[in-house]
Symmetry: C2
DNA sequence: TTTTTATCAAGAATTATTCTAAATAATAAT
DNA sequence: ATTATTATTTAGAATAATTCTTGATAAAAA
């Protein structure tokens, strides 16, 4: 299903005395089942199906913790709400200008982002990010 | 100084009945003089030196208009406030995780972002964006 | 147990940005 | 020129995503 090598959340070490909790487990599970890069509010709604008492603040906390632990990725495109992604493989994102949906896109082999860019002297590059903006297949098909 | 081919704002066609105004002129001039990708609030402070009566809302309006006209670029990185950039040449951005500064970085020739990525069938890609995150030269030099 | 530490939940607070409405200014039409 | 139209500016209110605060709960350590 998802490309996350973590079989299940039990194998995640949250680090620093952080505990695995039912809430964190559920948030992680929702992301493993999602292909659509949900926002925190969307994760909240989905998690509520399994645990009605959970709060939005807790969902934010869980997402932050999981991102810090490297179990999921946070995706920020333009000024829109953050989205979350369970796919830990290196990949880029396609962002639809019409419907705001986000699609994972594969990186071509040998086309390392690190080689496409000239890093300033003395700077230490840590992460590379490629984003494409345009119309997703659904929206491109529509006339208007 | 800047890599914007528009010699001055008079040559900009804002389109759609939009007028060139003193405020828009000043906002554009500030960006032409800036290499540091200022936020709207920073542009506001700089413009205030020349026109004390200008309001923050107007700076936002002017920035939006200039972005729509293609005279400047808006740069959104992570969840931070939008920054604005007078450099219209194709380039990428380096984003310092310590001090949040943004540096323009050059793209290697032949390393077109469009070739490094596999666009989904049916999607229409319009813009490509490459961002690098890490420590800028200043921050990399510091111990901590 | 008792103590410590982490977590959760609800709602308040924050902050960048957008919206509203009234005043002003520029342009077009008469 | 005068009037009518349209765009712009401004101040402040509104919005919305996210973070913070606080008290209660729960787990882990002593």
């Amino acid at each position: 299903m998802s490309k996350n090598p973590l079989k299940n959340i039990e194998s995640i070490n949250l680090g620093g005395g952080h505990r695995m909790t039912p809430q964190r487990r559920l948030v992680f599970d929702v992301l493993m089942k999602s292909q659509d890069h949900p926002t925190a509010a969307e994760v909240f709604m989905r998690v509520k199906n399994s645990m009605d008492s959970i709060s939005l603040a807790t969902v934010y906390n869980c997402l932050d913790t999981l991102v810090s632990a490297g179990a999921i990725k946070q995706v920020n495109l333009d000024r829109e709400p953050s989205r979350y992604c369970g796919n830990l493989e290196p990949h880029a994102h396609f962002h639809c200008e019409s419907c705001s949906s986000v699609l994972d896109i594969e990186l071509n082999e040998g086309a390392e982002a690190s080689k496409s860019v000239i890093i300033p002297k003395g700077a230490k590059a840590e992460k590379f990010e490629v984003a494409v903006r345009g119309k997703c297949p659904k929206c491109a098909r529509r006339k208007n």
